[in-house]
Homo-oligomer: 160 residues x 2
């Protein structure tokens, strides 16, 4: 079996389907996730003093944008499956950053709400998301920025 790219078109339909049906992220969450992977250690060292993992911070970013998201909505934004979220949210709840409450209309849904501590952190870590992204584009012309931004989008699956 030859797996060169010229043959990537002939992947079983199901595989392609699964790749394409990935939902578009809302906001800048996934880009940040990508960057946090790229930045690696350096990124963690910013968060360490606050006893936050990158993942915790990403969840907080989502909630700062809109509090009371459902677990699956957070998953959509961060492109994580439910199984992963469960453990992360467990630890965040234990750590006192968020609280889970059941949706009153649809009792299948658990909504995630920021605690007071979670809200406070937004002020302590201001604009970090934007700055992290900007740093990657630092010193680039507008044309270059557009290209890079567009390229990232293409790489992670033709996002809007």
């Amino acid at each position: 079996m030859n797996l060169t790219l010229s043959e990537s078109q002939s992947l079983p339909p199901q595989s392609l389907q699964r790749w394409q049906e990935v939902k578009a992220p809302h906001g800048i969450g996934y880009r940040i996730k990508l960057l946090s992977q790229l930045m690696g250690r350096q990124f963690q060292e910013y968060l360490e003093p606050h006893d936050l993992t990158p993942f915790h911070w990403l969840v907080l970013c989502c909630l700062w944008e809109q509090d009371g998201l459902a677990t699956c909505e957070v998953g959509d934004r961060l492109r994580q499956v439910g199984g992963t979220l469960t453990g992360v949210l467990d630890r965040m709840e234990e750590r006192g950053l968020v609280q889970r409450r059941r949706d009153l209309q649809d009792r299948r849904i658990w909504r995630i709400w920021l605690t007071e501590e979670g809200q406070k952190l937004e002020e302590i870590l201001p604009n970090y998301a934007t700055n992290l992204y900007e740093k990657a584009l630092e010193g680039r012309s507008d044309a270059e920025r557009r290209l890079l931004s567009e390229w990232i989008d293409q790489m992670i699956g033709n996002l809007s």
Copy 2:
């Protein structure tokens, strides 16, 4: 504490040290690792039929380039710490892809050697590494390619 990027210069020296002392990768291994993260599922689906995880494939790439590497040399190329490698190599050995043998000169070192099956896979998965990287740059002009390539290098820590 303000964590905007303008203050990233004032990180404790030790932290900066740790970030900068990351060793440069040999060959294209780390770029591929980066791309495999970006490509995500799609990438795994290529490897699945061969019962390979992306990590297994990366280790194989290193060994195809040079067989009989020490564990720490593989770690350098893939930018992984020893603790991570141990488990991965355990599974690869169990799976019959590689074999660990002690270095005769320096008995602290365990060298990783491809088994027959590991060697065969090189022919089954030809040029995939290069093609994966090329696909990301597909349809770009030379100038754009240079920029993107340069930018990736910058992002992952000023590689050579």
